[in-house]
Chain length 553, copies 2
């Protein structure tokens, strides 16, 4: 009886948006659900992406039976190349998900050494004690699944990301029946997507976008340029369908758009008649009204195709006066100003832009309140842990479950690294494991930490002042310098007097020390730093990083 | 006839949100409407605030007859202390607006030398050729006005910021009658607020907030802590009224909240019976359910009172478990994540927070589409220039006017510094004046420019590597160093080998030069820089600022 419990350890995705990864452990078996990345927030200067600390998995690698992926979004699969460098375990996912990962691993030159397994929805992987069942859901990427883990203690159900779309583009509706059957037979623990728990009502079907696109396409006289998420293949299909209807050829622009569309076509998730697909280079042989461009950059990312087109720095696409732009996406929180910049720039060039505020050209992929209520009602689990959301979303999801009659003591608001132990008649938090964020910057993984970030922030705020001086030890005398170099602090022109004064102060300070035969670096440096800091703050109310360097001969 | 035109020159507030300032010039008379600041965007590292380049005003200062202020928001009055340092011209505004400016000038120690003039709505200032008329409007701050400038060429009407609130808290409704009369008699040029031109329908009355507050207050068991904009005195009044109704004392927290409430009470815009106003220090003598705290920080600003309370760093206010927080504000674009951070932190502490997504605790102060249509219909000007908005807002405002029957050629989408010349039967853009943004950082005004910002951005991204070496000129030899110091680049622990290798590279590079008797600093530095850059990029895919310093003895 002692061993009759299962441990659930989220290593990411709780109390944050992104880097979803959840560990399920029963006796000697561990399965991992998803392995995503998060995008850096504005305080993480220079960081390219964020992955989870998987120390716990490294220390238990012999137990890991595989990583089971719910769907192919970056916040669920983006961490795979990084985790596989540490622990090369089997990966399971549906065809499209695995196709996208192959692409990713090829870029990292890791494809041949990885163990990828395609599994279809409603299939089951049988381990020693655990059974992993994939259940079809609808979401903003095709081939998405929830995952049920059948354990000797009971069934755990993880929804993954989902919405309930009764009219999905590919006709493959969410397997609500299976949710219902599992619920009927008893679900021990439900883990459900909390992203949109604050939104009233029910998401709109992806299909509604098709109607809006047709309306917009019917009035377009020049090229139509649509920016959207590269992973939203259903959206892509609808843009393609509208293009075909209005006799337009389709061009893909932007690296991820080209990659994903290629994979999706090869695997049969995206259908474009050959005669409708052309390359960027072929574009010039067609008139503007015969062209649709599907592009990356819907978040206003300065380096992505859309921003390059808007700011006239795209290698191949020049703006034309009869272009019509559609931004078929919502800004991810934090990107509002970037995308605004691009929209304003297009308007400045006299170009028409249609975006979410003006027409219904985007719908969310995450369940709203009423959909969540349906899932809770069908599954009516014994215990519930809200997942995938900032802390406030988790709290509101807990309140939603309580409003449906669930007892507060059966709901567990978890956190990264916090262990939830669940047995047939009891659940509780019991301790935690090492967890957190690892920053990826260029080739470095984890070599940028809080000290580096603190310095970058400090440098960003006020710049820096380097003070260099060479002294001769024997004679206690300054023989070169002090030289003052600033970066990011103040206009050189405006600062001449300031710099002259700093030299005087440093000289005096040094001389005072040397006269007293003090030559310890740390004392000299600290004195120079303090006097300079004080002077500069007094004059400018800024606190640049002061970097005294003393060379000694 | 030649001189029968008036020039309109916006120096801020077009193609951007903030720092509104518009110059109106007729013969030898210039009047300035508003003089605001903008808040820095995320690319403006370390910048505290942004003001407009007023070069044109400095060069024409003898013509300036005054600055006429529409209302007391920072983006309309914040630039006053800076402009007065350059040109000490008379200021005109309504009682509350001038009260807020007095406060501001007192802080800058400039009050005694300024020429402030209180004027009431519907009053007129008569100049030589121009007449300046203040017309009451409704907005999210009391005592707001539109301004009509009667010129020999015709009437110019500037709405300022406004919404049409038929049930304002102070009962002072917008003078639509005057708009209508001006329209009937003929308005030459309308300049109107474009902020919310993309929003359908009509704004909700400020009064509706009172109802929501009463509902929320009626259920609160502990303290109620409301964060809102300090300038929204009507909102303050409604929070006070709800507090009185539910027998709560009111405490103001945060410097600007304390300042503004004081001014507003003194001038009769905010009414609090003496027995209901207490200080932070008095709070402890009351029970929690007897207290309302009105606080700054509704944008999640890390240094403001709300964030300090949430993160337990407020000097006097500790969170208590029965507290109820209300965020009675919308995030200004760019602040979404800051405010989210505070909300999540409160939820983590188990505290209830009510915000816009959940209940109607905020309404906008800027006219929506239907309100703008009303103004256009009443005023039906000959010419129209949309103001106050990003470029896309100006374009959409132009489209709105066209939909109401205005000819496109009579609408002028202006830009900062662009001169619009208007005569009785003709309007056109004719040239431009020097204009732009001046950054204020600490005590420095304009000493942070694009080079400094570019360096700060570079430092923020990848940090910096300083290389210091001392050489002896006579012997062409290195006598100390190279020393390598990094900040914001990489963990010291992880970088030991990297740094060692950089030393070797620098040494080799220097030796190569010195062997060839090359000692020109620029050559040495540039060679060191290039080799180090190449090596570090190869190893880390990062490009820190490389700062070689060569000392010579």
């Amino acid at each position: 009886m002692d061993n009759n419990f299962v441990k659930i350890i989220p290593l990411g995705g709780l109390g944050e948006i992104g880097k979803n990864i959840t560990v399920i452990e029963y006796l000697n078996e561990i399965v991992v659900i998803d392995c995503g990345i998060a995008f850096p927030d504005e305080e993480m200067y220079g960081v390219d992406l964020v992955i989870s600390d998987i120390d716990y998995l490294k220390r238990n690698k012999e137990k890991i039976k595989g990583i089971y992926l719910t769907h192919g979004h970056e916040d669920h699969i983006g961490g795979i190349p990084y985790i596989l460098k540490e622990i090369n375990v089997p990966i399971y996912g549906t065809k499209l998900t695995i196709g996208l990962i192959e692409n990713k691993l090829r870029e990292h030159d890791m494809l041949s050494s990885s163990k990828l397994n395609i599994i279809s929805a409603e299939e089951i992987v049988q381990l020693e004690n655990l059974k992993i069942e994939f259940i079809r859901v609808t979401h903003s990427i095709a081939d998405s699944c929830a995952i049920a883990i059948h354990t000797p203690v009971g069934v755990l159900l993880h929804t993954g990301d989902f919405k309930i779309d009764y009219t999905p583009i590919d006709g493959k509706i969410m397997n609500l029946e299976r949710f219902s059957t599992l619920g009927k037979n008893g679900v021990l623990l439900l883990m459900a997507d909390s992203t949109n728990v604050e939104r009233e009502g029910h998401t709109i079907s992806e299909k509604s976008i098709g109607e809006a696109l047709n309306r917009i396409f019917s009035g377009a006289v020049g090229r139509v340029i649509v920016a959207t998420f590269a992973s939203n293949i259903h959206r892509m299909q609808q843009i393609v369908d509208a293009s075909i209807k209005y006799k337009r050829k389709v061009v893909f622009s932007g690296r991820s758009m080209e990659n994903v569309s290629k994979v999706a076509m090869e695997l049969g998730y995206l259908h474009i008649p050959n005669e409708f697909l052309i390359s960027l280079d072929d574009m010039q042989t067609y008139s503007n009204h015969e062209i649709t461009i599907i592009t990356t950059g819907s978040q206003g990312e300065p380096m992505a195709a859309l921003a390059r087109i808007a700011f006239s720095s795209h290698r191949k696409i020049r703006i034309e006066s009869d272009d019509l732009f559609i931004i078929s996406a919502s800004p991810i929180p934090g990107n509002e100003k970037l995308i605004s910049r691009v929209i304003n720039q297009l308007f400045r060039k006299g170009i028409d832009v249609i975006y979410e505020d003006l027409e219904e050209v985007h719908v969310s992929g995450h369940a709203y309140k009423e959909e969540l209520k349906l899932i809770h009602t069908l599954v009516h689990p014994k215990y519930f842990m809200p997942v995938h959301g900032e802390y406030r979303h988790l709290v509101h999801h807990s309140q939603l479950a309580q409003n449906l009659g669930m007892k507060k003591e059966n709901i567990f608001i978890g956190d990264i690294g916090k262990i939830l132990s669940v047995s047939e008649n009891h659940a509780e938090f019991c301790g935690s494991v090492k967890s957190g964020s690892i920053f990826v910057d260029g080739l470095g993984i984890g070599d940028v930490g809080n000290i580096v970030l603190r310095d970058r922030k400090h440098l960003a705020q006020d710049g820096m002042v380097t003070i260099v001086v060479t002294i001769e030890r024997e004679s206690y005398s300054i023989i070169a310098g002090p030289d003052i170099i600033t970066r990011g602090f103040i206009f050189v022109k405006e600062s001449e007097e300031l710099i002259r004064e700093v030299k005087v102060i440093v000289n005096e300070e040094l001389q005072r020390c040397l006269d007293k035969k003090i030559i310890e670096w740390c004392v000299l440096k600290s004195n120079i730093k303090k006097s300079t800091e004080r002077y500069l703050f007094d004059k400018t109310k800024r606190r640049p990083i002061i970097l005294p360097v003393i060379m000694e001969i």
